[in-house]
Amino acid sequence: MKSIVIDPITRLEGHGKIHLFVNDDGSLANCYFQIPELRGFEKFCQGRPVEELCRIVTRICGVCPDAHHMAAAKAADGVYGAKLPPAATKLRNLVYNAFYAGDHATHFYALSGPDFVCGPDAPPAERNILGVVAKVGLEAGKAVIAQRAAGQRIIEIIGGKKVHPMTALPGGMSKRVSKAEQQEMIKLGEQMVEFAKFTIQILNDVVLANKAYVDLILSNSFTHQTYNMGLVDANGKVNFYEGKVRVVGPDGKKHAEYEAKDYLEYVAEHVEPYSYLKYPYLKKIGWKGFVDGVDSGVYKASPLSRLNVSDGMATPLAQAEYERFYETLTKDKSGKTMVHATLATHWARVVELVYACEATLMMAKDDEITSDTIHVPPKKENFVGEGVGIVEAPRGTLTHHYKTDQNGMVTEANLIVGTTNNNAPITMSIKRAAEGLIKKGTPITNGTLNRIEMAFRAYDPCFGCATHSLPGEMPLEVVVHDAESGEIVDTTYRNC
């Protein structure tokens, strides 16, 4: 038996390591996905005022500080039993959608885009955003930069800072928005909607028009039938900031729909000795190992999952793209037939990008966001001492759960972040992709390894917050061991 190690994985946050154990006949025996860890977050939180966590948690992930800020604020709202004024909820929603639009754009153009625009066999030196710009044109690069700037300006207006927002606090927000700022955000929102249309065109022209890519997306190597999880609003539409958590089975049947505070009734965490990162699963079904199907508690929480659990999108252009997505992939535009192709997550992310841009514009036009009443101080008699905040981070359902003493000082903290939800399906996707690609007598090329990486890149994993580790892009090193003797029989380096 041989062991193939992919370490570290390129173009995702954190330092993951993949071990592939290959039998002598070339077939794949097993797959292990290891994640390092930043130690002691729960202890770090203890003894701090719960309202302080809203600002601290933005530092545990360099990729989605806004998501942690919002989940922490919602959990702190729960601790104090706070009731938000409508303007505060709308401001949080608005800034969160602006953040989403930037984050999804970054992934599409800088991370997943290179795989499709440049191709999985392109040299690593070309398979990046520069390669995308070279192929698609400078206009794409300028559009991405402008989109990011627009989103960051809205975050700065509402959140106080461009990158790490700091204005959400128990009971609402701490910074008002002026009429002039509202007008500026409307213009930025209009610009973002145009960017969304531009991205749809790029997706059509470069990805969907290429039959080889579409075949790759739909291939069995990149398919898993698991449960799906995501927030939905009162109408069952995708929502990133608020609503109930809905879980739907691979057969399309609803498994659960619950309030954030009840999450422990539905989700538990499995531990494997070789990984720091836990494996959440559906408690009422149970952990059955790394297997898919209705009898396995493994679930996904991703852009594709959110589309799969929802009844559609709340804005018109996004709804049209939702219907096109399902019509193309299932021949049923209603979305009632699930899509299980992991690589379709990239397309789902574009549908969400369109929604985020439209929602930003729609919410910016709401005059209530300029209200003076943006914060209602929590009342002592409403104090609860425990709160759960759930939002949809771009890479999955994000849960913050805090318990405090009677003075609001944190005694316990628990986080289930987006990528953690997907730990089991990522492991399964890597194994499935490897099974389809690694054959006896077929050399393992950079292109082969990149296709394996594509299996988990679709999840947009961010191990920075999943394990509280931090980023670093390094060369890819592949080591093949003879399992019998332990000797290294081959080593491949990829300098990214």
Binding site: T10, G62, T106, A110, L130, V133, L470, P471, G472
Partner: protein, 167 residues
């Protein structure tokens, strides 16, 4: 307010042990009026595309960060032009784009990118534990880093200047 042509860009994370080196340097330099006359001093817990945003319009940038080369003792200071040595902790981000990619993208898009990007990085001992405390070797490296930064500004400032440290 107009940006100064020189930028001391301190990267890092205040709550991840030695990764708080950048913010510690930023705090130490904030009160040096001589230095602040010639260079902006900025702490930014960011990487990737965000660096591109911060680079625009500057002539020369000195980045302060942490690094793990594995070949030097914790607390060792490294000075190098960006992109030459092992990437420092925040100069690359696998989630977005690396520093060289960010610079190249900026140039191709016609943005004004700095002509010089230098790095002062400290060899870290602990980049895993959530803590607001630097380890002792890295704490001991602070004064040396400040001296290198003052020398860099003196060398790159438009007018001839000398710094004696905090006034």
């Amino acid at each position: 307010m107009t940006n100064k042509p020189l930028l001391i860009l301190c990267l890092g994370n205040e709550i991840v042990s030695d990764d708080a080196f950048g913010p510690a340097v930023s705090r130490a330099l904030r009160d040096e009026p001589d230095l602040n006359r010639h260079a902006d001093i900025l702490f930014a817990p960011v990487a990737g595309f965000h660096l591109l945003d911060l680079f625009q319009g500057r002539d020369k940038i000195l980045i302060v960060d942490t690094i793990v080369t594995g070949t030097a003792a914790a607390g060792t200071l490294h000075s190098f032009p960006a992109g030459v040595l092992t990437p420092s902790k925040h100069l690359t981000t696998s989630h977005q784009i690396s520093l060289p990619t960010a610079l190249e993208l900026g140039k191709r898009l016609g943005l004004k990118m700095p002509e010089v990007v230098d790095v002062v990085a400290v060899e870290a001992q602990d980049l895993e534990t959530l803590s607001e405390e630097l380890t002792q070797p890295v704490r001991d490296a602070l004064d040396g880093a400040l001296a290198r930064i003052r020398a860099w500004v003196a060398e790159n400032a438009v007018e001839d200047v000398q710094y004696a440290g905090k006034q």
